[in-house]
Symmetry: C2
Subunit: 200 residues, 2 copies
């Protein structure tokens, strides 16, 4: 069985973060949660071993630092090979395969549900996406006024000419997520009406 070239997105999510600055595993995990993690969730138990694998593959270089009297921690620097790998990934068009959507799976068989459970599901869908949409709206605001600290660090390290692009694409990403959330909310509201109509 062969390794299939172009997938493994956690790896690229981590590279994305490390293009900005060198970080320790714990730093990576913490920053991940507040940035890339919104589009690609991963627990620390997946991040630590992946960082080690990436070091082994030459994409990162780990520099050990003392921590306290006995402890030590490793700060990961992206290597030129790492930058190259990231660039190659970003220039490759993604293929669209897996479709895995529990909510729509459930929606398709809602005739099996208690009407109240069906309504609760739709309300939970609305609540979830509303809260996300709001969160992203705040994120966009913080990106626009440059008060987002992770963005600020990234911008500092980047040439002036690239700064509009860096911020612009991040805002664009969150805008897309808001659009999607709004579509979900609209759909679920329609679902509530449908439940009222069908379960009478």
């Amino acid at each position: 069985m062969e390794r299939t070239g172009g997938e493994v997105s956690l790896r690229y999510a981590l590279l994305a973060l490390l293009t900005s600055q060198p970080l320790t595993g714990y730093d990576v995990f913490k920053q991940f949660e507040q940035s890339v993690g919104y589009v690609w969730h991963a627990p620390d138990s997946q991040i630590y071993p992946e960082l080690r694998r990436m070091e082994k593959d030459g994409l990162l270089r780990g520099v050990e630092e003392a921590w306290g009297k006995k402890g030590k921690k490793k700060r990961y620097h992206i290597t030129p090979e790492g930058v190259e790998a990231f660039r190659a990934w970003i220039n490759t068009t993604l293929d669209y395969t897996r479709e895995r959507d529990p909510v729509h799976l459930k929606a398709a068989y809602l005739e099996w549900a208690e009407p109240e459970a069906a309504r609760t599901q739709m309300q939970a869908h609305i609540a979830y996406h509303s809260s996300r949409a709001q969160q992203w709206q705040e994120m966009i605001a913080a990106l626009e006024d440059r008060s987002n600290p992770i963005l600020a660090t990234r911008l500092e390290a980047a040439p002036e000419a690239d700064r509009a692009k860096i911020a612009g694409y991040k805002i664009f990403t969150y805008e897309g997520m808001i659009e999607r959330a709004n579509a979900e909310i609209h759909w679920a509201r329609h679902g509530l009406e449908l439940i009222d109509k069908l379960e009478s």
Copy 2:
């Protein structure tokens, strides 16, 4: 480590299919591809062992049938326990955890891409979701005029009073997927404009 109760959606996707009629493994796989598979993709290599596990867990009962002179196949019937498990799942509100979206991950770092690669990605996104939207539109038409064979079988086995619900929720599901696809298309078009603006 314990088995964590309420997840494992492939199992419920299979139960959903088998609430309508008993099917052999191969039938399941084929029908899956044309119905539930649109919201929950799974290869046959995952379906066969899962069916066996479900039989072991008492959710299905497999009845062996002769096939040719030597061959045999197994037709899976849903058991009352299976129906109960499905009903329990559908009445449980899903929890929203994993967020894993390679396109938005990539979008957030598009400043690293060649402008042409960025455009190609957005165009691929539009093409993919356009084709899906069209496919679902056709699916809705076939559900509305009852010409979809999988739906027809399901409706035959169901009491008259449930038929509007059964069809209605399936149409609702595909409507949601169209809405989402349209949001993606709209976003990607905005992306193309943004690329033109930023990469000049």
